[in-house]
Symmetry: C2
Subunit: 203 residues, 2 copies
Amino acid sequence: MSTDGPRLSFWFEFASTYSYLAAARMGAAAHAAGIAIDWRPFLLGPIFADQGMTDSPFNLFAAKGAYMWRDMARLAGDLGLPFQRPSQFPRNGLLAARVATAGLGEAWAPGFVVAVYRANFGEDKDIADPALLAALVTAAGGDGTAALAAAATPAVKDRLRASTQAAKALGIFGAPSFTTPDGELFWGNDRLEQAFAWARRGY
Amino acid sequence: MSTDGPRLSFWFEFASTYSYLAAARMGAAAHAAGIAIDWRPFLLGPIFADQGMTDSPFNLFAAKGAYMWRDMARLAGDLGLPFQRPSQFPRNGLLAARVATAGLGEAWAPGFVVAVYRANFGEDKDIADPALLAALVTAAGGDGTAALAAAATPAVKDRLRASTQAAKALGIFGAPSFTTPDGELFWGNDRLEQAFAWARRGY
């Protein structure tokens, strides 16, 4: 794919349920649409905190939460993805986001990202566990030990912090979100096709 | 259409931007899908108040609001619907909801509902204005004076209040929402096709 072809930034947060759906279908969907994807891990916690929320809106608003779990079960079923409501929600995705940040540009990164979501929302595993994350990096074709070591460096921590600030500057308030080089923002797994269509304009 | 064919309840609130999109395309879309629609006006205000919100979430959360207006402009453009950000948001839709309730089952009701949304979000008109509402009923083929008189009766006010309670009992927390006779809830204009597909199961 040409580097100056259509591009889309895919902003995801590991605690976000709907990001699982977007991540799981992103590889095949982007390939089919001919779009290059910049995978952008970021943290929603600081953005929610700026809005005065100290927990997931799905926990703060019971009816919205009940709906989300049912909606996720239906959508995951339609996509043939394993899904169960995790015993803990939201799980702490900070370390996973740092590992994903350490892997940006590496061939193993997209596979790792999808595997983390599957572990959390398909297998009810604790994605804050360093041993699990290292194993998922290795399973995706990377070096788990090296990736975990990189995730602990100030450079990677700073890069993730900068990504969260960049997300906020782009107007992002939830996940998944998709942004185009010309500044359009699309929010939600159900906006992926619309984001693709926008990214392809002019090519 | 048989009365025991697939049915869907369409829950809408006149202050809701995305309900405009769903209402505007409902007639043709439901006809094409072979689904009978129960139009269910209700009020989101009391439901938001139960969640501790005294204003639209799009006003309470600036980034979410900014996104919504841009998203609406894009989606309305795709659907060929007139759209402009109203000078007042949210507008008071109580009287319009009472008029729509008075018209339930009448042939003019769906056309009236769509016209109210167009007035608010396409033409920046005050949908709390009784004269405007009466004119829209008449333009949709009803008797505007009679409809406004009916809207002021205790029976209609009670019926709308009961609808809002029924919406809450169904787990509805936003608009538009769609419910099926077997108890499924779908939230959002972008879930309409999924709701249609669910409603058609078994027929």
